[in-house]
Amino acid sequence: MQRYILFRGIQALFTLWILSLAIFLSVHLTGDPAQYLLGSEAGRTEYEQLKKNLGLDRPLYIQYIDFMGDVVRADFGKSHILGRSAREVLMERFPATLQLASAAFLIALVVGIPLGIVSAVKRDTPIDMFAKFFAVLGIATPGFWIAIMLILLFGAILGWLPTFGRGGLDHFVLPSFVLGWAAMAGMVRLGRSSMLEVLDSEYVKFARVKGLSERLVIFKHALKNAIIPLLTFSGLTLAGLLNGSVAVEVVFAWPGIGRLMLQGIQTRDFPIVQATVLAAGLFYILTALLVDILYAYVNPKIRYE
């Protein structure tokens, strides 16, 4: 087990390093930050001076060593647009994203897993039909569009819910539902198929033959095994919520890092881009690592592979 954790840890570090390299190269090889900062009208001397100030006249490998030092200290420099340190802005925005992602994740878990299980147990009933329909739609509809439609319906037409910004609990309803729907759909699907498979297995049949009540068969015997695949999936889902959160944050004007990232790209604000991409990457890699370790703990087969 320890060897496994160590192995996965090194792998995670490696992925993180690749990411940081990609970011470094994206800023330093393809574009010229000094050029972006000054615009095209700047004179030659101004340009040289700025390059010197930013340390861009030094050899690339020295810049890289410097950059890595900064990354380790989480020092990404000052945002040119916001006039504040990128780390400060990141720290300010990160909780918003984390809260939204957690709320969405919770909805996905609390609604998705039971719905998937019930859908399998009550196969081919209206509940099953509804669950399948709900899941299929959740996977096929673009989140950003659903978000806009819900704003139209609940915000503009009915006026029941706030449609932008962060605030009380009511502010969470629409964004977290939109963000959580696709994840929920995946959980319903996987929960259903894994429960169906377990219900078809020999030991469940045996438990039934033995004369155990249906309730006991499902809760005591089937459920435990049906949950295992959901565990890995939910971890990946949590990490994958980052993907959807950019669009959802943009539509609902949610002050999180997804929107910050997009703004950074639109305004070519490199410190912000570096900070947000690395933070998102770190979040993703850590979650994946945690899930793998948890999974190995639950399923001993993995550890010895």
Partner: protein, 307 residues
């Protein structure tokens, strides 16, 4: 004579027809998804023929016209619509129907190119990794894991920072995440196939590695390949739409469904059809492809059912 020939034709034709019909019936083709996908492809190929209106033509005098197909029946007396714009116009007076049709072309084009590239790269790497095994396999699979798990939007954003926004970059971003799915599945198949007797025999006969892969292994993975491709199309279309929506793809004003949804976002209360229609188009098309993919999987490769 005439009677005889007519008898033979009527005798053979229904037989041939019946055979065709039973064959297609046995396939249980999902007709609605097939019809939707066909419509999409026809729109993409024959956009110029289907509509004579330029999707980029701005006409401020005809701006914000509501869809005639709806307003004709539900609109009040003050409804502003015209049958020359059956689906209405946007805030710049551009024809919605024409933009939707050209949007289909954008969607199909980007998805097709990105998917093909992803398929070629992923299949090749999957074949090599599966056949060679050892460190080649380990290396390819580590990269595949990273690509698979990594948030696509993040990848796309890095690419946009790297190269700037544009159609080619959407293709690149989609490709970078799609190849890994192909590589993983193909590699799994190859691992099983390379242990089979005919591969061992080919090896003993001295056939070169790339000949074995091309001639003996590849034909056996074609089914898997088709199934993964059909299951991926919907996701790729969705991804393209999200990137366009975020402004990471084509320049604003171009006819792409994601861009159209974005354009309607700020005026959603007054000009609701602006976002509604393209979003509906995305949903319907993705649904159709997903159902079609499920059907492909169930018909061609039942063992993939759970994957």
């Amino acid at each position: 004579m005439a009677a005889v020939t007519s008898v033979t034709t009527t005798a053979t034709r229904p037989g041939w027809l019946r055979q065709m019909r039973t064959k297609t019936r046995r396939l249980k083709l999902p007709w609605i998804p097939v019809a939707i996908v066909s419509t999409l492809v026809i729109c993409a190929i024959f956009a110029e023929v289907l509509t004579s209106v330029d999707p980029r033509e701005i006409n401020m005098l005809e701006a914000r016209m509501s869809p005639a197909v709806i307003s004709e029946f539900f609109g009040g007396a003050d409804a502003n619509y015209s049958w020359s714009h059956p689906l209405g116009t946007d805030v710049m007076g551009r024809d919605m129907l024409s933009r939707l049709i050209y949007g289909a072309r954008t969607s199909v084009l980007i998805s097709l190119v990105a998917l093909s590239f992803g398929m070629v790269v992923g299949t090749t790497l999957g074949l090599i990794a599966g056949y060679r095994g050892k460190w080649v396999d380990a290396l390819v699979m580590r990269f595949a894991d990273a690509a698979l798990g990594f948030p696509t939007i993040l990848v796309a954003m890095i690419i946009v920072v790297l190269l700037g926004a544009g159609m080619l970059n959407i293709v690149l971003a989609v490709m970078l995440t799609v190849w890994a799915r192909f590589a993983r599945m193909i590699r799994g198949d190859v691992l099983a196939i390379r242990e089979l007797d005919f591969v061992t025999q080919a090896k003993i006969a001295g056939v070169s590695a790339h000949m074995i892969i091309a001639r003996h292994i590849f034909p056996n993975i074609v089914n898997t390949l088709l199934v993964i491709t059909s299951l991926q199309i919907g996701q790729v279309i969705l991804l393209e739409a999200s990137l366009s929506f975020l402004g990471l793809g084509l320049p604003p004003g171009e006819a792409a469904w994601g861009i159209m949804v974005a354009e309607g976002r700020t005026v959603i209360v007054d000009v609701w059809w602006l976002s509604l229609l393209p979003g509906l188009a995305i949903t319907i098309v993705v649904l159709a492809f997903n159902f079609f993919g499920d059907w492909m999987r169930d018909t061609m490769d039942p063992k993939l059912r759970r994957a």
